[in-house]
Symmetry: D3
Amino acid sequence: MTRIDERATNELRPVQMEVDYLIHPEGSVLITVGQTKVICTATVEDKVPPFLRGQGKGWITAEYSMLPRATNSRNRREASAGKISGRTMEIQRLIGRALRAVVDLEKLGERTLWIDCDVIQADGGTRTASITGAFVAMAMAIGKLELPAFPVTDFLAATSVGIDSEHGAILDLNYVEDSSAEVDMNLVMTGSGQFVELQGTGEESTFTRAQLNELLDLGESGIQQLIGKQKEVLGSLAQKIGEEVKSNL
Amino acid sequence: MTRIDERATNELRPVQMEVDYLIHPEGSVLITVGQTKVICTATVEDKVPPFLRGQGKGWITAEYSMLPRATNSRNRREASAGKISGRTMEIQRLIGRALRAVVDLEKLGERTLWIDCDVIQADGGTRTASITGAFVAMAMAIGKLELPAFPVTDFLAATSVGIDSEHGAILDLNYVEDSSAEVDMNLVMTGSGQFVELQGTGEESTFTRAQLNELLDLGESGIQQLIGKQKEVLGSLAQKIGEEVKSNL
Amino acid sequence: MTRIDERATNELRPVQMEVDYLIHPEGSVLITVGQTKVICTATVEDKVPPFLRGQGKGWITAEYSMLPRATNSRNRREASAGKISGRTMEIQRLIGRALRAVVDLEKLGERTLWIDCDVIQADGGTRTASITGAFVAMAMAIGKLELPAFPVTDFLAATSVGIDSEHGAILDLNYVEDSSAEVDMNLVMTGSGQFVELQGTGEESTFTRAQLNELLDLGESGIQQLIGKQKEVLGSLAQKIGEEVKSNL
Amino acid sequence: MTRIDERATNELRPVQMEVDYLIHPEGSVLITVGQTKVICTATVEDKVPPFLRGQGKGWITAEYSMLPRATNSRNRREASAGKISGRTMEIQRLIGRALRAVVDLEKLGERTLWIDCDVIQADGGTRTASITGAFVAMAMAIGKLELPAFPVTDFLAATSVGIDSEHGAILDLNYVEDSSAEVDMNLVMTGSGQFVELQGTGEESTFTRAQLNELLDLGESGIQQLIGKQKEVLGSLAQKIGEEVKSNL
Amino acid sequence: MTRIDERATNELRPVQMEVDYLIHPEGSVLITVGQTKVICTATVEDKVPPFLRGQGKGWITAEYSMLPRATNSRNRREASAGKISGRTMEIQRLIGRALRAVVDLEKLGERTLWIDCDVIQADGGTRTASITGAFVAMAMAIGKLELPAFPVTDFLAATSVGIDSEHGAILDLNYVEDSSAEVDMNLVMTGSGQFVELQGTGEESTFTRAQLNELLDLGESGIQQLIGKQKEVLGSLAQKIGEEVKSNL
Amino acid sequence: MTRIDERATNELRPVQMEVDYLIHPEGSVLITVGQTKVICTATVEDKVPPFLRGQGKGWITAEYSMLPRATNSRNRREASAGKISGRTMEIQRLIGRALRAVVDLEKLGERTLWIDCDVIQADGGTRTASITGAFVAMAMAIGKLELPAFPVTDFLAATSVGIDSEHGAILDLNYVEDSSAEVDMNLVMTGSGQFVELQGTGEESTFTRAQLNELLDLGESGIQQLIGKQKEVLGSLAQKIGEEVKSNL
């Protein structure tokens, strides 16, 4: 039985990445995954947070937000509410942590990369689309810096997998699927197939070791396809990253 | 002498409005004025704020925000700062007030229109582009309601005018022009050529009555061109509004 | 037909300014316009905000507040609410901007003037009374500084004008008139008759160019009377400002 | 040796109370104690806080604030800071608690009295002047209610006493005296000479039982003089309160 | 090579749970895991959050906090900072989500269980100790309700596992181990050996599928030991839960 | 007639102090007074607040908080509410002020002592138990500093006294007694029998001079017993403080 949007269980939604989407940021991309659209930008700031000062190392931090009508019913702006929700904080911590896993912060030098992921339309998978797009924006911004050594050590992308009573394990859940899934897992992996983040949860449900293995297989195949797309849009930067990967073997 | 972007002093920047830009909102448009890009959406909520309850009247309220990298250097998010700046508040009050001037709130009935203007790229004139785009998104959302009488009473658009030491009075200032202008004025007018809002300021400068008259002439001509563009994208809705204008004469 | 308080349409309410109203501030005045009473103070601080440091220029910033029972029903304190309303922010930005138009910030040197306008009783026109009173407090504070060149370049006062279905254009609206006016405009002008700020709005209404001209005439006459009062209370300082005006012609 | 302002150690500063100082509030007074000036208002609201609903009892709550330039150097507004200081909270809790001690909340019925004390000029003793003035504003507001039984049970006033290395025990400290006092005590008492609040503190110092007794004697004499002033300005209301006091004996 | 605290790589720290630690809450436990000490309480409230009203279902929500000196250097209180950190939000969302996986919310009925986890001493693993302790406090509070059907469907406990350059995969990391681990994973599992939450992260590092499997084996063995401890302290309640588990097979 | 917990009117509840209760802080104690339990810690920070910098003096500041279920019904966390209540602010200001009265801040040198009092179980008298416990934690932390001169000048403890319609004056009120007391007074005194703080309040009641004297006698006897307990747990530090007291006579 096919999924609500006619996909096979192991099929990603259509993905596009429009690079240099905005004129001001050092790196920017509009990533589209099915109906989910996220503007990812990377900004270079020539200083680091207080806890890192004087250590010769850089930092990467991320912020995530949704436009009020990115979703079906309007969400109150966090600026109006005067505080950031737990969900938003969790997502922005995840994005920053994931990106830091593929950047050599010492090679980056004492500077901060600010990653902004603004969801302009949401249909499930906004945090994984943000990571996949943010990697591209970040790589572009780093590519413009004149650094003695190139600090990006590998490609990085993310997707979601889940278990649904009708189809079993499925790849890249849209909003309707995500709402009815029994188990939901976000995976962040490198181009070399290593895990960076693994967050699986079965709210009001649980899952077995066998199911976990099936989800991991599915997620890995999706991520390798996403990294293929990243390589296309990154052009010569992709080659540079590829050389870093080889030299780290 | 031509302006920095080769325009004549009485020339608008190129304007596009991409309607139905997003899938979720009742009305949405991506308005582009030169390099300034704003996503405007309109949301219908079936209740009114406490001060209007039980009066059979509707309400229109607006929120305005910029992505952190809409500008040349990154701005801190207001959600992170935990509060909305004075500038943002002033702009969102202006947008709501302006739109309410061309909607018969009794015909709208007890519902609220939430207008969201999110600037994704800024190059001067973000508040006037927001008003011009918000009118289109609002008209589209109202067009989808089944109402006994059509509540939009006229077209509405906005532009900026200013005085600059080199060119004198100029229309539709971009960011560079706005930064160096001696006098800066925002005008909101209806299709019938009436004033809705007039905000002129000469920070560290002042202006005479003659200069004011020159600015008003310039602004009016720009606004009528913008309303021409609105009519193109609104199609049959534009006709409906036109009929309202005639019936109100 | 006379107005609710027996005034002619072009008549100001009675105005008093009690200078040196408080013992601590460098400049202070209690301004009374009809039943509206505002305490305006000016404080000199020997540093400037970060964005101006090291440029040899000064800054003027204003804060505005109302006592909870300045109005007919009690307003919640903004300190209790934990945030400042959009209306308050708009007013304090207006006051600061208006004052900066008649002060040469380079002659002021690297110092900040803090202007505080606290409304103790409100009956319409609190923002314009604040500007008119704040100019006096500010001039007094500047007069006490020992500066190589006197930085106040002109007088400055403000009033409101409006259009009302019964009387047409009227000057200096009280609260009842302001609540029922169709068009409401605040004007800030210099002693030389130049415009500094012009904010006209027709919420739920609009106005024509002819009406605008009538309002501007009315406002200008009121402002010149207010400046006459300022000259009386400023004494020798008024003379000093007068000399600056002449030297700038 | 006389005090800095030539007073005897047991002498109050000059006290005035200007009743009906503002036109809007149900009760208002401008109290002046030496150079300290506080506007006290009382507002009647026809409901009680959630914890009292349906019990047939009323409530009295107080808010206290200072204008930024009530003091020698400018204080940041609590509304700008976004939060109320510990000092302010302590004072407003004290004022509310003190007033509730002389009002029969059941006779007041299900309504709230909001007391606002706004210090427009400070020279020590702002909290005690606030209590003394607030009692008058509150009595006036209650006097305008049509109640089956009069709820004010006694007069109430407050003053400060302290110990100073030069003069020993002194009454009604001004700012300079308060800053150098070793022991500082605020006393709130009724017309019948009973204690309502007693707050003595010896920051960086301590005091003996004998010193405490001396301070209490001094404070009691000052409070009885303040209550004499209250009786003068309250007129027939003072008589009504006097009758309540007698009937409660 | 043994670990810093002499443990084997697959050895938990000593665990105690002191039930009924506080007199007021419906359920309370002080859980000690090595030097980590957390007070867990459960409170029953007879209503549910707005999004669940009228659905006959209950809710479980958690809050987590640390005393300022739970850690080696003093942390600023979140109440003083005026906002809750991203880390705290992430942890409290995790605790609530995990507990909801083993409670049948319909059997719980329209009531909310508030779980509070207050860390009084921290030495690594505070979030997993919180979950393990919170399960006990929650079961005790539910045990006191008179419900038609028992809503706890299984036991639940959590621990951490990680990879360290010296020892490889290790169980139940203390603070020093956690700080130097290359990979850190938190596991929440049921008594039946199903996964509830799985959060693995390799900040500045990555991990392979083989390493993941080793970590999962280690974590499962630790969790079963923790559930053994829970059974001891829960007594007859443990039996009741055991019956639920059987009936759900 | 004996009290609800069988105590005589002049009898303290059982008191224990468990010193070095936590491993991280420089000083820590768990104080138990009847059912009231407070964790008090003292932290040394090697800098002072801005207003004291460069004066060679130290500072002592306190923070107070309650666990949500320290009380019979759950209190919302102040971190969740985003602000600290007036009651909390008043208490933490009291604790800091009281401790500063028995420490020579010049001998302490330019460092800050942070005192944290976290109530884990409340049954009346949490602020006085906090002061009594905080003195011990503070003395322990100071004892670990290597200072040229010992800065603690005397012992310090606190208790509550009150008047109750059934028993008259009573010592050390528990929660039930505190709720029904007509007069409530907190006393902070030194080992030498001097007053440091005296806060008496008769909400909805008043008290006479004779009653005050009775309360002071009762409080003093309780405080001397508490100081006896402090001496027991402080051991050799108690001797050191005793020597300071003597040398200051």
